[in-house]
């Protein structure tokens, strides 16, 4: 009870402050936006958008609060439990369910007309919808593809990149013979699980089944894990994979030391800046029995307790028009989420096109509780497999048991 009282007091205090600030004109509203730091472009972009919006809507103020991705969840947690959260926030779409469960996210359907809904590319709007209501708008989207080093892969006989996992193995063997590392395998920190899902999905497996239970401890899962482990054992990956985070593997690729790596569109941007002489190609995630890739969106949500919903919505509406979208998406190296921006010349380059072409086979992280626990259980299991501490079948079974404890609860 005490906590609630304190929260209420804090809220009252904040409300008073806001009222004090906005005291002179009743119309004027301040909208606070919590924004995640994607790159050093993010803050200037949002500042510029805020200024443009304030100019068009005199009297209103947009306050941008930048937070690092690593600390975003912590910041939201502190703000929300203290009742001092912003009006709008960027969140990982996978957190949306918790937002909705706690009744903190405002359903946006009543603000959206069909024309607004029509702006979006359908695939990207869907992850922000829970039981038929839209809670999050896709502010950022990306998919994954295989980057390959053109020089070494041409020498190995795969000038257009490997098509299947067998190709990857064959190419890696040749690359190894000439002294390089073939396939870059991530084995540490965030998305270690996802790096294995590529192989799981393309071998016909799934992470969570239709019954809402862990489904990765399947024959496809064992095949996928065995594939990676055998590549490690044959020296076809960089050695010591459990010491390589996503960035570490990407760095090896930029240095030309590994020849293949699966990553997001922003790697192309980084290569152009940091390793402009590197000749790379982009191919779909290698196939086992089927094609698949991983797609991720981040969502912009409105808080239910916001006092400035109207203005906040207006700002959202503005952010999702063509010019602001093009500036954001091309600046950060993401994929277009609205139809209009997709037509812009900035996205006509072969890199973006290669990624967009993969979207029909894309899998999104499902909005279910326990997804993060599953990710952790799978990452731990994979590390044990990569280190040779556990056999694929038993590691996956144990991870599935662990994941089932949290899934759907």
């Amino acid at each position: 009870m005490q906590v609630r009282l304190t929260q209420r007091l804090t809220r009252a205090a904040v409300a008073l402050t806001v009222m004090g600030l906005a005291g002179f004109s009743a119309q004027a509203e301040t909208v606070r936006v919590t924004v995640a730091f994607y790159s050093d472009q993010t803050e200037p972009y949002f500042k510029k958008m805020a200024e443009a919006f304030e100019k068009a809507n005199p009297g209103n103020t947009i306050k941008i609060e930048m937070v690092n991705w690593d600390t975003l969840q912590q910041k939201l947690q502190t703000d929300i439990s203290g009742g001092t959260n912003a009006d709008l926030a960027i969140i990982g779409t996978r957190w949306l369910l918790d937002f909705v469960k706690d009744d903190m996210a405002e359903p946006l359907d009543s603000y959206m007309d069909p024309a607004f809904k029509g702006r979006f590319i359908g695939t990207f709007l869907a992850p922000g919808q829970i039981s038929g209501k839209t809670f999050g708008l896709p502010i950022a989207a990306s998919a994954r593809a295989l980057y390959y080093n053109k020089e070494t892969l041409t020498k190995a006989g795969f000038a257009n990149g490997p098509k299947t996992w067998d190709d990857v193995v064959a190419a890696s063997k040749k690359i190894k013979a000439s002294g390089g590392y073939g396939f870059g395998l991530q084995g540490k920190e965030i998305e270690t699980d996802v790096y294995w899902y590529y192989s799981l999905w393309t071998n016909g497996g799934d992470v969570v089944g239709k019954d809402g239970k862990a489904a990765f401890a399947s024959p496809a899962g064992i095949k996928a894990a065995t594939l990676y482990k055998s590549m490690i054992d044959q020296g076809l990956t960089q050695p010591g994979v459990t010491n390589y985070s996503r960035e570490d593997v990407q760095n090896l690729f930029k240095q030309g030391r590994v020849s293949m790596v699966i990553s997001a569109p922003f790697l192309a941007k980084q290569i152009k800046k940091e390793a402009p002489t590197l000749k790379y190609g982009i191919a779909p995630v290698p196939m086992g029995t089927t094609n698949a890739t991983y797609a991720v969106t981040d969502s912009m949500v409105m808080f239910k307790n916001s006092k400035a919903k109207k203005t906040a919505w207006k700002f959202l509406d503005f952010l999702f028009t063509k010019e602001p979208r093009v500036a954001f998406t091309s600046g950060e190296g993401f994929l277009p989420t609205t139809k209009e921006e997709a037509t812009a010349p900035q996205f006509a380059d072969p890199d973006t096109k290669a990624f967009v072409a993969l979207l029909p086979t894309a899998r999104f992280a499902p909005t279910i509780t326990g997804w993060e626990d599953t990710a952790k259980a799978v990452s731990d299991a994979m590390q044990a497999v990569y280190l040779g501490k556990a056999k694929p079948a038993e590691a996956l079974k144990a991870a599935a048991r662990e994941a089932d404890k949290a899934l759907g609860k």
């Binding site: 005490q2 906590v3 969840q73 912590q74 939201l76 947690q77 502190t78 929300i80 439990s81 957190w95 918790d98 937002f99 469960k101 706690d102 903190m104 084995g187 540490k188 920190e189 960089q238 050695p239 010591g240 994979v241 459990t242 010491n243 390589y244 570490d248 090896l252 030391r257 993060e372 626990d373 952790k376 990452s379 731990d380 299991a381 590390q383 044990a384 990569y386 280190l387 501490k389």
Partner: protein
């Protein structure tokens, strides 16, 4: 004068009431909040859901990773604090000598202290990188090893490496305490000992060490508290991985609270940690006076 039921004057109590109240509030409110959270189901974003009794504690204690982290925390604390004291005593003794360039030497030893722990950990993470890390490169150039060692890829290497880094960052503080202690030791007793024919080792065993003892005790208590709670080194270098094999309680707590979205369980872990530290301190306070009587 007003008196309490026990016949003691009330005024002193009244006089310390303001500071006592402030201290109680500053310590009490967060503690209350954590206890409150630990017996409730708390959502990922910090909203209190239902009362759940000791469920959070039960869940945590049923988790083998928690138990493993608990033991590892003891090893971590023992390793870092023990190592630190072992390294710091000779370092302090050397720095206490009067030699040319002592100021520079002292500054170099103190330097790691002035860098934030997180930055130190990041630098060491780079240094221990397999491919381009300074440690592997140096060892290879010297011909000590022929292939790079995967320092942080397995817990066999990663955890000892983290303990070494922990020792490195704790040494400056500990040396400072010891230097303070050494400067309070009068020089003439050594002179007397020398005249009596005591060797350098005897002087160290019979004079320096006993006189330094209260300072060593203080260094142990303070370091245990710091090291037990020390988060950045392990989190930055391995995040408790691979496969949970380098978790200590505080990194486990962070992962529960901020990665897996279970602040309630994290609160329970933090209470367990608090209890452990209080237990240690109480034990230590009991042991200490007995030692004093012995000498």
């Amino acid at each position: 004068m007003t008196r309490t039921a026990f016949g003691r004057p009330l005024t002193p109590w009244l006089l310390i009431v303001p500071s006592l109240a402030l201290a109680l509030f500053i310590i009490g409110y967060p503690l209350y909040n954590i206890v409150f959270q630990s017996v409730h189901e708390v959502s990922r974003f910090g909203l209190i859901r239902d009362f759940c009794g000791l469920d959070n504690f039960r869940k945590v204690f049923a988790d083998p990773i928690f138990i493993a982290s608990l033991w590892r925390t003891l090893w971590w604390t023992l390793g870092v604090v023990g190592g630190t004291v072992l390294v710091s005593v000779p370092v302090a003794l050397i720095l206490h000598q009067d030699f040319y360039g002592r100021g520079v030497a002292r500054t170099i030893v103190m330097l790691p202290w002035s860098v934030s722990l997180t930055m130190t950990a990041i630098v060491w993470r780079w240094a221990f990188n397999d491919e381009y890390g300074m440690v592997n490169v140096t060892l290879q150039r010297l011909g000590v090893i022929h292939a790079p060692i995967h320092w942080l890829a397995t817990s066999n290497w990663a955890f000892p490496v983290e303990i070494l880094v922990g020792i490195l960052v704790s040494v400056p503080f500990t040396v400072t305490i010891f230097l303070g202690g050494l400067s309070s030791v009068p020089g003439d007793i050594y002179e007397a000992a020398r005249i009596d024919g005591a060797s350098a080792w005897q002087q160290f065993r019979k004079l320096t060490l006993p006189l330094l003892r209260p300072f060593i005790n203080m260094a142990i208590v303070l370091n245990v508290i710091y090291v037990f709670n020390s988060f950045p080194i392990i989190w930055v270098m391995t995040q408790g991985g691979p496969s949970n094999s380098t978790h200590i309680l505080v990194t486990y707590l962070y992962e529960r609270g901020f990665r897996l979205g279970k602040p309630g369980e994290a609160a329970a872990v933090s209470l367990v940690m608090l209890a452990m530290l209080m237990g240690f301190t109480a034990l230590y306070l009991r042991i200490q006076p007995k030692e004093g009587e012995g000498t």
